[in-house]
Symmetry: C2
Subunit: 211 residues, 2 copies
């Protein structure tokens, strides 16, 4: 009996998942755990177990834990970038573009709270700067897409205060502020999310941009 329990090495070993197909498996499993349990909850061992592979195997495909999770973040932000690019080609007023982009941004954050925290609330120390590069670049691309319309508005002399640069940063930050607080402090007595987003958008757009 006890002898029968000892499996031969062959069947105990997971067969090769040739090439980047295993990489995809890992990302899928990691994403599921990460979304369900957050950064700390998504341990290397859990991810490896979910894939059915030893924890060491993950290091074949990714340099370290952060690389795995940042890759998930990267993919998510690619969606956000796609949204922004699409919006920037809509045939509408620059202000309306800005409004829609910020609205999409906040909804994205609330829909993907764990990912949002990972990418936009990450303490600068937890994950080193170089590691964040890929994600950071995409974030910059999103911001560039967003600051295009802002520059238009600034060029039209419709900025009530600040430069195109600072106005864009402040608009972004205001939206980041409300969603990051709602996400990280869910136990507070928040007004309804829709109202918060609405008031933020209205307030900040009217405050910074002239009619």
């Amino acid at each position: 009996m006890t002898v029968a329990l000892k499996k031969p090495t062959r069947s105990a070993r997971k067969p090769k998942g040739d090439g980047h197909m295993r990489r995809g498996e890992i990302l899928a499993a990691a994403e599921k755990i990460f979304i369900a349990e957050g950064y700390a909850g998504a341990t290397i061992r859990k991810i490896a177990d979910a894939v059915g592979v030893s924890s060491t195997a993950l290091y074949m495909h990714f340099r370290d834990k952060d690389q795995i999770l940042l890759e998930i973040g990267r993919e998510a932000i690619e969606q956000l970038l796609a949204i922004n690019v699409a919006l920037s080609h809509e045939p509408v007023d620059a202000v309306e573009k800005v409004r829609r982009m910020l609205d999409a941004y906040m909804r994205f954050a609330l829909d993907n709270p764990n990912t949002y925290q990972l990418v936009f609330c990450g303490s600068s120390e937890a994950i080193s700067v170089e590691k964040q590069q890929a994600v950071s670049d995409l974030g910059d691309a999103c911001f560039d897409e967003f600051s295009g319309p802002i520059r238009e508005i600034a060029a039209a002399g419709r900025l009530k205060t600040g430069t195109a640069e600072s106005a864009a940063q402040v608009l972004w930050a205001a939206c980041h502020g409300i969603v990051s607080l709602v996400i990280t402090k869910p136990s507070r007595n928040w007004a309804p999310h829709e109202e918060l987003m609405q008031v933020t958008l209205d307030g900040v757009l009217h405050g910074l941009i002239a009619e």
Copy 2:
């Protein structure tokens, strides 16, 4: 020779630091390390070494690591609360009170980035809700002090959009947004901090509050 090296237990042991005096030593050492190296860098062992005591000894005075660091955060927020209380008694316009409180808030954040992150950017999962209670209560007190003038403004019918509740939350969030981003992403090309704070305050106040 080798015999001489073996110290008697007596001298190897750190004498008692009677009562809450040792507690203060621990907090002081922990704060120094925490400010220099952040949450993850401030390990129990490092703090204990700095005090000159075994790591176990910290558990005589604090339930766990979070208690130590949250205590540091608590003390810091007490200062912020004191500022807000002082400002709320100044003989100025309610709007001016709000402006000064938010300005003080942002400067506090930039002056104490690690503490700010610990208290206001803490992912909800990292530190359990009950543990945060003491700090959270103080944060609420600050917010109450801040929302007093806002309610005045709302009562005077000067709110352009939203309720007193949502307006207060949005104003706070806008300020939180800019400082939290500047703190956690210091490598981005930010406009000068003074300008960002100025534009944020002007924009959001003009956007939400009528003359």
